[in-house]
Amino acid sequence: MGELTLGHFLTLSALLFVIGMLGVLTRKNILIIFMSIELMLNAVNVSLIAFGRYLDSIAGQIFAIFVITIAAAEAAIGLGLILVLTRRQDSVDVTSVSLLKE
């Protein structure tokens, strides 16, 4: 086992991001999509922190903290939306929500 390099972290970040994106694109359950978005955000966090370490700068970590904060706020709003959605049509399927098409 060699030393952990920037490349490893970026690879991990990319993999996590792609997994999250595929989740967003393929799944129909809105809760799963939501969790996938969280995954993408955290993939970004990983790369931010890795770059921060690599460049010996605190900025990466600060950005990561920001992302986590925003993610928390977004989670609150997103869960609220899901709650309203399930109340209205008793389903968590995104394909059933296509009012804009009309």
Partner: protein, 656 residues
Amino acid sequence: MENWLFLIPLMPLLAFAFDLLLGRRFPGKWAHAPAWIAMAVAFVVSLLAVLRVARTGEPVSQTLWRWMPGADLGGFDIPFTIFIDQLTSVMILIITGIGFLIHIYSAGYMGHDPGYYRFFAYLSLFVFAMLVLVLGDNFLVMFFGWEGVGLCSYLLIGYWFDRRSAGDAAKKAFIVNRVGDFGFLIGMFLLFTTFGTLSFFGPEGIFANLAGKGEGVLTAIGLLLFVGAMGKSAQGPLTVWLPDAMEGPTPVSALIHAATMVTAGVYMMVRAHALYEAAPVALLVVLIVGLATCFIAATIGLVQNDIKRVMAYSTVSQLGYMVFAVGAGAFIPAIFHLMTHAFFKALLFLGAGSVIHGMHEEQDMRKMGGLRRSMPITYATLVAGSLALAGFPLTAGFFSKDEILVGTWFEGYPLAAIVGWIVAFMTAFYTFRMIFLTFHGQPRFDPEHVHPHESPPVMTLPLIALAIPSLLLGIIVGLPAEAGPIHQWLGPVFEGGGGHADAARTMAVAVAAAEEAHHPPAWLTVGGFAASTLLSLAGIALAWLMYGTGRISAQAMGRRFAGLYALFYNKWYLDDIYQALIVAPLDVLARILWKWVDAGFIDGIVNGVAHLTGGVSQQLRKVQTGVVSNYALAIALGTVIIVGVYLLLGPQFLAR
């Protein structure tokens, strides 16, 4: 004193604003009050200014502001200056004096009209514009007033806009005037390119720098400006609007279409006399057009039956006198006639208005007759005005018309003077034909339904006030002939003394000075008097024989000269010619433009664009599925493509 000159045009403008904005809210009918006050103040200030001019012999002026002073426009610098010399004095006294009387009269005449305040607002605006026209000391300010009076004329002819004929007449007047104004505009452009200024006076002004300019360009300017004068003063081919303008209320006909606005062309040419004297060809054209108009309008006036139309044609004919006097170079007689004509023609129109008012809006003279018993004051004043118009000896019109004819003969156009005398005979005839038809003989209206009555004092007082100068003005300012007070008063304008000192260099002034030096010989003056007297009396006598006693049958005359009668009655077919040559082709063209170009082509483009947008949108809306996953996929693919292009092409291509 100079600091108060701005009040002259400002007062009518204030009255206009006041009446237009607040007139509707006035309790009762008080819209005439601000207009009366404004006219009175303007008249008094004008009078003070004129007295000052009389005392010092120098023009007075006040520069209010300069138009766009900072802009670098190649020497285009227009001072908004009020300038009063002896010539302007005559004009402003006519405008404010007669204007005041007509404002008073209008309160009676328009008393029953629902648009009372609107009428006074327009009338005041007109007076403002007319004053600006004569007070300006350069062509642009004059043009501003020129257009302003055109607008007011349009508004007031079409004052009873619910009558179709009034609306048509207003449009006709406006459009015909546009033709003239176009010539005026081009003339101004040419003036500016030639002289680099539009100012009349001063060392840099137009009249001081005529020497050395080509006669060709001066002739062109003179002719173009004359096109403008033809429009305003209803001369030559552009006469057609003035008779139709009688659709407007009668005080408007009196003020605008007889006394003031229509004389603007004459005023302009006299103001620019130096320019015209340097362009003899232009002057000759002015003479010919004026003479032809004078003659043609008089012949039409012989056979009209509408009392206002008789006067309309007589106005055109009298304007023709002034214009050909200008063309002959007899400027002072032209202004003299302008002045006397303003009084007696305003009187005639107001008198006709009084008749129409008393006859319940009847204008056809064939349905009148015998009115002298029921309207004694109107009858007396109207006879006074008619005597002046007919050139009855010792009335105002006699002196001024005679001076024009003698002056024209003396300036070297005896033939024109002879035509003028023939027209004088016709004038006397048709004027008294109107008097006899209207006031003498048996009533030809239905006494059961029509009860002619004398007008209220608010209308008859202005009539009396105008009748006095119509009779006496000639004796006061016109004697001795060709050298009376009017000549002494206006002399400095044409001599180059005083405020025109810088014009002394010009050739024109040399001509004017030479003119002043020798008067027409005594035989011409006396002969002119004799001819004018005889022809005037002969015209009146013929009218008496035909319409007063009926000894000569008018119908028989009409049958004997059927061809001429038809020609005159149909106004020399001028309107029909325009209809065939201009109106009808334009109508066809407009129809083509409307049906094909507008409805077909332009609307086609507009509708085509709309259809195209709609069709494309119909296709594009299918992209919007409403499924969030599809949008997310589009975002992701888009990002991948953008980043991919960036990585493939490399930053060096996209950096700049």
